[in-house]
Amino acid sequence: MKQETETEMLKEYAEQEYKYGFVTDIESDTLPPGLNEDVIKFISNKKGEPEWLTKWRLKAYEIWKKMEEPHWANIDYPPIDYQAISYYSAPKNISDGPKSLDEVDPELIETYNKLGIPLEEQEILAGVAVDAVFDSMSVATTFREKLAEKGVIFCPISEAVKEHPELVKKYLGSVVPRNDNYFAALNSAVFTDGSFCYIPSGTKCPMELSTYFRINEQNTGQFERTLIIADKESYVSYLEGCTAPKRDENQLHAAVVELVAHDNAEIKYSTVQNWYPGDKEGKGGIYNFVTKRGACRGNSSKITWTQVETGSSITWKYPSCVLHGDNSKGEFYSVALSALKQQADTGTKMIHIGKNTKSTIISKGISAEKGQNTYRGQVMINKSATGARNYSQCDSLLIGEECGAHTFPYLDVKNTKSHIEHEASTSKIGEDQIYYCKQRGISEEDAINLIVNGFCKEVFRELPMEFAVEAQRLLEVSLEGSVG
């Protein structure tokens, strides 16, 4: 029966392609809301993609249609109408944005000022009509030349599809398959752009790669797709995000990030994300439903995820490591802050397959005001993973009376010759601690910052230096006024 329907559907699909061909006007720059096969073909065509990728997307769409939106996470939001979303729009016409910073939410401007963001950059972030891309264009070009000398490929994924199809074809969807989860399937069908990075064998990437330097940055936000491959004996550190609260008209963000590390290769992936969290009632904030996974394919390979999450009204993400190679290592360091009415359900998965694989999980959740913070982590030791070790530490810090912290560690151990350690703690910033600091002359706000920074130290030290400083400042600004 099932077989039959599938065959039927496939037939229908094959015919459809034939029947309708390309009906959407490819000259138009923005699609009306709605999702169907034509929309996907339109996107693929707009990007000038080869046929295999169009088919790959359409298959993802078929899978997605049969899936249901997951609701197991400890988050609460009104139903999303996927047909009400527009899945493609070309870079915004300059005249559509606010005319000047005067038209932008003053609270947002205040935050920019507190973070010390220069005026021109504020305008870009707030979407003010300025022609500011020129600078980053030239920077990016020199930057890419330097990388090319080492054989490092770093470009938009849409470009990689054309320039390096063999690599994209080999790795795309190899870590996060299309049927992995609802949002990954959706992303696979409709992703518009993202980063592609390949580090050849024996190469240490000469600089930290940051999305900031990527050409074509605009309008890739909603369904971003990132693919990073570190070949044998290579090393790369990749920085994602921005400390400034970035406004975006698209409420739903469903990105996919795939990392592949071959023998003795190491990938460090650091994120400081500060999507607009919404106002005090949580209105207008971003839903960040992202799938991030790294595969330690080679022996003695290593992948480290470090994240500082302060934004979004809802965060649903579990950067994970699949440890195939013997002696491979996975690490996850996370600070997640939920203030206002923010909800975060985040954590990691460490899947041990190879022998003597090691994983470390350090998760720091901070809840303030009405924020709800959930840690959800899974450690799976497969039968083959003799000598595997995991250390997990999940700490929660509560500020105020109305917030909450929740911890859901899942352990699945199929090999008795493995070792797992789990520690968890929940603490509150005590009035006695604040009093003690104040009695030494430190103001209440500075006292909270001191304590919060102390709490996050183990994670901050995993971040590249400048990023760590920014992250610290970001937490301070995000927590401002949350204790009264």
Partner: protein, 250 residues
């Protein structure tokens, strides 16, 4: 320096202090002694500005200002230091960084520039010797995992760095062995000058052998029932609180 007049204090509706009068001048050291529950620690906390204590009556004038009108951190910046009976732990917060933050907050309050790292290290180097503190304690989180004695020494170390005008020592001797007591008292004594004053709150006379007070006050049921010089402390030790209370009543 500080003048306390008719101070009445309640906690959750319970009367703890019932009309305290006390004046402490610059250069003086006063000891407040009393049985458990007499209100000694309350007096220290009220002067530091703890929110749980409600002042229902009375005034406190400190350096010509209304002390009760100031917030906790403002009082600290104005030179009031409380050495806690139970120092609070701040996990993750580096001891040195904490102290530097405190010192800079106070300097900022007085319109002075922040102390630079070199200068600061020099300053604490001197003070740490004074208190015979292990250097490793500087790198550890504030009071986290410290022994009882280490915590008390750390309090006096902070005091030595912050150089307060009015130091309040709340049961600083509790939990200290005799050697540590000598070191801590030595630290306090080294800081005594004509410019500052100290109020020592203690149950036992022992500490006063090392920090010799100019005045001793006996606090019972929230009132000072007897005042004298250091000999009063010795008398108290000999006779016990009950006897002194009886005598005061009679």
């Amino acid at each position: 320096m500080i003048k306390i007049e008719n101070l009445h204090v309640e906690v959750d509706g319970n009367k703890i202090l019932n009309g305290i009068n006390l004046e402490v001048k610059a250069g003086e050291t006063h000891a407040i002694m009393g049985p458990n529950g007499s209100g000694k620690s309350t007096l220290a906390q009220v002067l530091a500005g703890h929110e749980d204590y409600d002042v229902t009556e009375g005034n406190v004038e400190y350096l010509g200002k209304d002390l009760l009108d100031m917030d906790v951190d403002e009082r600290a910046c104005e030179g009031i230091f409380l050495a806690f009976q139970y120092p609070v732990e701040l996990p993750g917060v580096n001891n040195t960084y904490f102290l530097k933050s405190a010192l800079n907050a106070q300097r900022k309050y007085h319109g002075e520039s922040e102390i630079d790292a070199m200068e600061f290290m020099e300053l604490i180097g001197d003070k740490i010797k004074l208190l015979n503190l292990k250097e490793s304690l500087l790198k550890r989180p504030v009071n986290d995992g410290f022994s009882g004695g280490e915590k008390k020494r750390n309090e006096i170390f902070q005091m030595a760095v912050l150089e307060p005008k009015l130091a309040l020592l709340d049961e600083t001797d509790s939990g200290l062995d005799i050697d540590a007591l000598r070191v801590v008292a030595g630290g306090v004594n080294a800081m005594r000058s004509n410019e500052n004053a100290t109020i020592v709150v203690t149950h036992y006379q022992r500490l006063l052998n090392y920090i010799v007070p100019d005045f001793v006050h006996v606090l019972v049921d929230g009132r000072i029932i007897n005042s004298g010089d250091k000999n009063l402390a010795l008398e108290l030790e000999e006779k016990g609180y009950d006897k002194i209370i009886e005598e005061a009543a009679g």
